[in-house]
């Protein structure tokens, strides 16, 4: 971590996390382009695989937000795909997961924060959306506001902390235990990477769904 590669382009510092992110974006884009070049009604094995992945994500999103699933699907699906690959990149020797960088996880958490409000306002309207901060009682408004920030902070810190600690723990165990430890550590890394990606994406999905459906739920309850 002390040997992170970075360079500057004017005022902008291009760090290893950013480069890795670009690499991940490139890989995802390449896979996406290759898998969707020749889409057919009778799918090839590759098409079947990517359709299965997208369908599984779509169904998971629709299970939480049945009415607005298609609207938030690109954001949540991209989060999941990006985080899975980003978390697993650390397994490749010489590369580090970008999610062990607080700047990256904060950026994603801030995106979730703004997405929640964006989709909420877009779906319910500004007045109705803001009104849900006053329900069930205006007294809870400060708590709602604090919750918005804390959960965003928690998102960023949770992912950053888990990935950072995982890689540090793995490094320490490798230094101490030698050659036998890497295999369970790698398996733990894979599981942890998948779980953290799932948790981040699912929390984002729940926040978005809560924002988009809260007013509707309230109106249904009042009826």
């Amino acid at each position: 971590m002390d040997h992170e590669f970075s360079f500057t382009l004017g005022p902008v510092i291009i760090g290893e996390s950013l480069l890795t992110t670009w690499g991940i974006m490139g890989v995802i884009t390449l896979i996406a382009w290759l898998s969707t070049r020749h889409l057919e009604l009778l799918p090839s094995p590759m098409q079947t695989t990517v359709e299965g992945i997208v369908s599984a994500i779509d169904e998971a999103i629709r299970a939480v937000a049945p009415e607005h699933g298609r609207q938030i699907m690109p954001f949540i699906a991209t989060l999941w795909l990006f985080l899975i690959i980003a978390n697993l990149v650390g397994l490749i020797p010489g590369l580090d997961s970008p999610t062990r960088d607080l700047s990256v996880t904060s950026a994603l958490a801030v995106l979730v924060f703004f997405s929640v409000h964006w989709f909420g306002v877009k779906t319910l309207g500004l007045k109705s959306y803001l009104h849900h901060y006053l329900t069930p009682s205006p007294i809870l408004l400060p708590f709602h506001i604090i919750s918005e920030f804390t959960r965003t902070l928690a998102l960023a810190i949770r992912l950053f902390g888990n990935m950072m600690s995982l890689e540090m723990a793995a490094m320490l165990i490798l230094l101490v235990a030698g050659f036998l430890a890497p295999i369970p550590i790698l398996m733990l890394h894979i599981i942890e990477a998948l779980v953290q990606a799932y948790i981040f994406g699912m929390l984002a999905l729940i926040y978005l769904a809560g924002a988009m459906q809260s007013q509707q739920l309230n109106s249904q309850e009042s009826l």
Binding site: P11, I13, M25, T29, T36, V50, V54, A77, P98, A107
Partner: protein, 249 residues
């Protein structure tokens, strides 16, 4: 661990770009393809459902038609059976009539055959009787028997029916009456005289007696008086059997 603002901002931009790229390159075409496939499957299912409905309707239609055919077939079979029954009864009635007629014909034929057989047997019996009687009479024939028959003839001449008497008297209108007398044995003069006297009493005209002998008569006489023949012989009596036999046919 350090928070880098430029990285933070660039990551936000990167992620937004990634969303845009994936939306254009990945999600949209894939979801459209899935939707098209779903639409195709739905369309295929709808078409299959329509085809199934049409098939069901066709099946129902053909089942109804088959039922109608079955009913028509049953009705036709019933009518045919009835017609066959009527025809059978009519033919049975005609057959019974024909059989009855045939039976009657056979009965008539059998009766006729039985009658013919009976007649034939009777005739044969009569002929046999005549033959046996002839043989017996031939063996027992003698002048004495003839004399007896002659006596019977004379007695019969006394008791001739009135019609015969008139007939003999009518012969007297002629000049001479030829009488042919045939006997089996030669007649004695005494017998001839008795006979001529007897006939002379019955016939007023002169009589020309002609005497002949014929062994075929067996015994007795035969008198030919013009068209009138008086038989008093066994041959004539025996011929009576044959005549009876002929008359019975």
């Amino acid at each position: 661990m350090e928070f880098n603002v430029s990285t933070f901002i660039l990551e936000i931009i990167n992620f937004l770009i990634l969303i845009w790229i994936l939306q254009r390159l990945f999600y949209k075409p894939l979801l459209e393809t899935i939707a098209k496939r779903k639409q195709f499957i739905d369309q295929s299912l709808a078409d299959a459902k329509i085809m199934q409905q049409q098939a069901e309707e066709q099946r129902s239609h053909y089942e109804n038609r088959q039922k109608l055919w079955e009913q028509e077939k049953q009705a036709a079979l019933t009518a045919l059976h009835q017609q066959i029954e009527v025809e059978r009864r009519a033919q049975m009635a005609r057959l019974n009539v024909d059989l009855e007629q045939e039976r009657q014909k056979i009965n008539v034929t059998i009766q006729r055959q039985q009658r013919e057989l009976q007649q034939q047997a009777e005739k044969q019996a009569l002929l046999n009787g005549a033959r046996f009687a002839g043989m017996l009479l031939k063996q027992s024939a003698s002048p004495e028997l003839e004399a007896r028959l002659f006596a019977i003839l004379l007695d019969n001449l006394k008791t001739l029916p009135e019609a015969c008497t008139l007939c003999l008297q009518m012969l007297g209108t002629k000049k001479s009456v030829p009488i042919k007398i045939t006997s089996a044995y030669p007649l004695t003069a005494e017998l001839r005289l008795q006979l001529e006297q007897k006939l002379g009493l019955l016939i007023n005209s002169p009589i020309n007696f002609q005497y002949h002998q014929d062994a075929e008569l067996i015994a007795g006489l035969r008198m030919d008086i013009g068209a009138w023949v008086l038989n008093a012989n066994l041959q004539h009596e025996l011929m009576g059997f044959a005549e009876i036999a002929d008359g019975s046919e």
